[in-house]
Symmetry: D2
Subunit: 287 residues, 4 copies
C-alpha cells in the first residue's frame, strides 16, 4: 500500500498515475474535496497523515513548502511517529537542502528510511507521467521506490546522499530563471532593432541556443497572457535560496544574483503572482 | 557559376558542400593553400576578388570581420566594382547591423542586389550542411539564393530587409553567451553544494532547462580542454555590440551587460583566446 | 582678448566670472539673447565663431556635444581656419576622449595649440567660480590658460596630454552615477526595514560613506521634485561611453555596467528628462 | 560604575576613552591580557560577564558576532540573569537586526532595558573618540547612555526602536562596500585610458564624488599593502545580510547584489582576509 500526502496541482496527478498503474493508494490532503476524483478511482481516504502511516508501506509527500512538510511529518497527527520502523518516506516537495537534511535526520532517529526526491517538470509532465526525479539518499532505498517513480516520471537521477536531490532542484530552478530571463532580453533586443517578435521567437526556438522548455512559454509571450503555471514570486524565492547557498559554499554567482534582482524588481512593480515568464513583459516595457 | 570568397574554418566547409552538390564554384582566399583541397575537387581558382566577380553569377562571402569584408568588396581588386549590374552578393560574415546596411547601400549604388545572411552554427554544422541562415533582404533575392543555402544549411530564416540578418545574429550570439554562462554558474553552484560535476551536467543536459548546444561543450567542461571553436574574445566583442545596439535602441539589458563584464573579467584574467566555454573554468576557480 | 563660445547654463556663468575679473571678452552664442546681460557688462559681441577668431588671443568653448563643437570649430564660419597660428583653444565641453584627440589633431594641423579642459561641477559652482578643471595638453599651454581658469574655478588638475582631460571627465561622471545609485539603493533598503527616509539620509550625509555632492540632492529626494540639473539620459549616455572605453582598453567594470542598465531601465520607464537623482524614485517604487 | 565587555581593536579603545574621562569601569574579556593596559589605568577586572553584572549600573558590549553576544549575555556565566532589573544594556556589536530584536526581547523579559548601538568608524575613530553611534531603542534610555557615548563618539544618531540601530548599520556598510568598489572601478577605468593612478585618485579624492572615508584607503591602493582594517570577508558577509534583508522586505537592490558577488569573486580568488579595499587589486588585475 502506497501512502500519498498532498494533492495539489502536482500531487493529484502523480497519485492518479500510481492508481492507473494498479497500485493501491491511501491518500490524505488538507481539503478532502481535492481527493474526490481519486477516491472514485479506488483510492482510500485517510483522515490524517497519522492514519496514512498506519496502513502504508511507503509514503510519498508532495507539499507546498518546508512549514507544511514539517507539520505533516512531525506536527499533531503527523505521520512520522506512527510510521513503523524500517519503512520508507519519499519527499517530492521542493524545499531547501538544509531543511531536507533535517527531515532526513528526524526520520533516521525513528528508524525510518528517507529519500528527497523533488521533481523537475510542472502540470503537464505530472499528468503525462513525464516528471524527472532528482533523488538524494541510499541507492537501495531508491531501488525500492523506483518502480513507483517510473510510473510518475520519465527519468530518475540519483544525485548522492540525502539533501542532494534538493540541492539539484535548486540548480535546475536557477537554470529555469536564467533561461527565461535571457530569452526575454534577447527578444527585447531583437524587437528594439526592428525584428518581428514572432520571427525572433521562432528563430530562437528552432535553434540550439534556447532551452527546450521555452517552447511552452511561447504562447504566453506572444499573447501576453501570464496566468501562473509557476508564479514569479516562487521562482524569486528559489533564487534567494540559490544566493544564500552560494554564499554558504563560498562561490560567487554574479549573473544569478542580477537575475534574482531583476525578478525582484518585476515583483516590486506588481508582477508577483503572474507566471515567471512575465519577466519578458517587464523587460520589454516601453513608456 | 558561384563565387565564394573566404575559406576559413566555416567558408571552406560551406564551399565544399556546394561543390559536392554539383555546383561550379570559383574561389578566392587570402592564402591559396587553404583552397588546395577544393581545387582538387574541381573548384576554379581566382587570383583576386575582382576576378571572382568577372565569372560568378552570385558571390558568397564568409569573412572574419567588417574590415576584411570592406577590403574584399571595395578595396583594391575588390569585387564590387567589377560585378555586373543585377547580380547578387550574399554576405554570410558575422558583422554588426550598421555595417551590413552600409554594404547594402554600396551594393545598391552599383545596382548589385544584396543579402546579409550570417549563419548560426560552427565547424561541425558547417561540415554537415546543417547551418541556419539568418537572412536580411528581398524575398525574391532570397529565393534565388535558397537552393545554394539549402545545400549548406538545414534552415533558412528570413528576418526582414537588409540588416535584419545581422541583427538576428547578434540576438543569437547573446543567447549563446547567456546560456553558456548560466550553465557554468549552475554547475558551479551544484559542485559547491557537493554534487558531482558530471551528474549535474548530465541532469541538466538531459532536461528541458539547458540549451541544446551545451551538449557540444560537455567534453570541454569535463576534461578542461578549452581549445577554441569560438574564442571568448570574439563573443565578448559581440556582447559589446549588443550593449551598444541596446543603448541606441533604448532598451535596457541588465543581465546581458553583467554577462558581458564577466566574460570581460575572464579576458582580463587571461582567457581571451580559449573557447568561450572557458567561462566555466573562470567562474568555478577556487584559490 | 579672450574669446568665449557657448553661453548655456555653464558657459554664461563662466564668461561672467572672466568679465568680473577685468578680462576683455568677445562672445558668441547661437542665440544672441543669452549674451545680452554679458554685453551690458562690457563684453563684445561676435556674429560668428570666425569673427571671434579674428580678435581673440585665446578661445574658450563650452558646448553641448561633439557635433556642436565640430560645427563651431570646423563648420562654415568655424573659428579654426581663421584663428592665427600659435594661439590657444581651450575646450571645456564634455565630449568623449577620442573626439577630443581628433580636435587636438585638427588644431595641431593648423598650428593651433589645444587643451581639453572639461569641468567638474554644475550650475552653482560655475556661478561661484568653484569649478574643477580637468586638463589634457601641454603643461606650458596650461600655464597660459591658468589665470583665466583660476577665475572660473577653484582647482585645476592636469591629467596628461590631450584627451586626458576628457578621459578624467568620464571617470568623474562614472563616480557621480555610482554614488547616486548606491545612495538610492541604501535609502531604499533602510526604508524597507522601517527606518525613516530623512533619518537615513541625514545619517549617511553626516557620515563618511556618502559622496559630498549627495548633499545637493537631498531636497530632491526628500520632496520628490526631480527638475533636471543633470538629466538622467545624459548621464546614461556617459555611462555607455564608459562601457565602450572600458571595452576598448580591455578592462571589465561589472558594477558600472549594471548601474548603466538600471539608469537605462529608468529611462525605459519614462524618467529620461528628469534629474539623474530620480533613480531613487525608480528604485524605491512600490506597486 | 560602567561595565564593558569585549576588548578587541574597537572595544579596548572605547573603554580607554571612558576611563580617561574619569568614569569608573569594570571590564571583562575572554583573554585577560588584552585588559592589562586598561587595568593599569585604573579599570577593575571581572572574572566573568556575570561578575560585571553584579557591579555595573550600565553594561556596554562590543563583540565579534551574534554567537559571542548570545554566549556572553545568556550563556553559562552570562550577565543577563545576574543584572538587576531596571538596568541598561547597550550592545555596540555589529549584528543583524533580527538577532538584535531577539536580544531586546530577552532583556525585556528580565526587566532589563536595551539599546542596540552599533558604531560607524573603525580603529582610528575609536581611538580618537570619533565614532558615530547608530542607536535603536527608547529615547530616554538613550539619554542615560548619551554622556558615555559622547566620550567615545562624535555623533549619536537615534534611528528608532530596538533593531533600528542594527538596521542602519547594514545600510552604512552597504554604502561602504559600494563606494569602495565604485572607486576601484573608476581608478581602473582611468588607468586603462592612460591616466596616472595617483592623479586619478587625487582628482577624485579632491572632488565631490568620492566618499570621505576613501581618503583613508589612499595609501593602501597606492602602495598595494592591504593589511586588514576591515577584512573583505566580513564586508561580504554583511552584503549577504543586506541581500537577505532586501528580499525579506520586498525591495530589489540590483547594484548591491552585483557588488556583493564581485567581492565574493575576489574572495574566491584568495582575498578573504585582506582589507576590503583589496577589491581594487582584484578589479585592476591584468594578465
Amino acid at each position: 500500500m502506497i501512502g500519498f500526502i498532498g494533492l495539489g496541482i502536482m500531487g493529484s496527478r502523480m497519485a492518479n498515475n500510481l492508481l492507473k498503474s494498479g497500485y493501491e493508494v491511501i491518500l490524505h490532503n488538507r481539503s478532502k474535496a481535492k481527493a474526490d476524483h481519486l477516491l472514485k478511482e479506488g483510492a482510500i481516504w485517510a483522515e490524517s497523515p497519522r492514519q496514512v502511516a498506519q496502513q502504508a508501506d511507503i509514503i510519498f509527500t508532495m507539499l507546498a513548502n518546508p512549514q507544511v512538510v514539517e507539520s505533516v511529518a512531525l506536527g499533531k497527527d503527523g505521520f512520522l511517529e506512527e510510521f513503523p520502523a524500517g519503512r520508507l518516506w519519499v519527499d517530492c516537495s521542493t524545499v531547501d537542502p538544509s531543511f531536507t537534511r533535517k527531515m532526513g535526520e528526524e526520520a533516521l532517529r525513528r528508524d525510518i528510511r528517507f529519500l528527497d526526491a523533488p521533481v523537475a517538470g510542472s502540470k503537464i509532465p505530472a499528468e503525462k507521467g513525464e516528471l524527472v526525479f532528482l533523488v538524494g539518499g541510499d541507492e537501495k532505498d531508491l531501488e525500492e521506490a523506483r518502480p513507483m517513480m517510473e510510473v510518475m516520471g520519465k527519468a530518475i537521477q540519483h544525485q548522492g546522499e540525502n539533501g542532494k536531490g534538493s540541492s539539484m532542484k535548486l540548480v535546475v530552478n536557477l537554470m529555469l530563471a536564467q533561461s527565461m530571463a535571457a530569452f526575454s532580453e534577447a527578444i527585447t533586443l531583437g524587437q528594439s532593432m526592428g525584428l518581428e517578435k514572432e520571427t525572433v521567437m521562432n528563430t530562437l526556438l528552432g535553434g540550439v541556443t534556447a532551452a527546450p522548455f521555452l517552447n511552452s512559454k511561447r504562447d504566453k509571450l506572444l499573447h501576453g497572457n501570464y496566468e501562473a503555471e509557476f508564479p514569479l514570486e516562487h521562482l524569486q524565492k528559489d533564487l534567494q535560496l540559490v544566493s544564500q547557498a552560494a554564499y554558504e559554499h563560498n562561490v560567487s554567482l554574479p549573473i544569478a544574483n542580477v537575475t534574482k534582482e531583476i525578478y525582484g524588481l518585476a515583483k516590486q512593480f506588481g508582477y508577483s503572482k503572474e507566471d515567471f515568464s512575465v519577466i519578458y513583459k517587464f523587460l520589454s516595457a516601453r513608456m
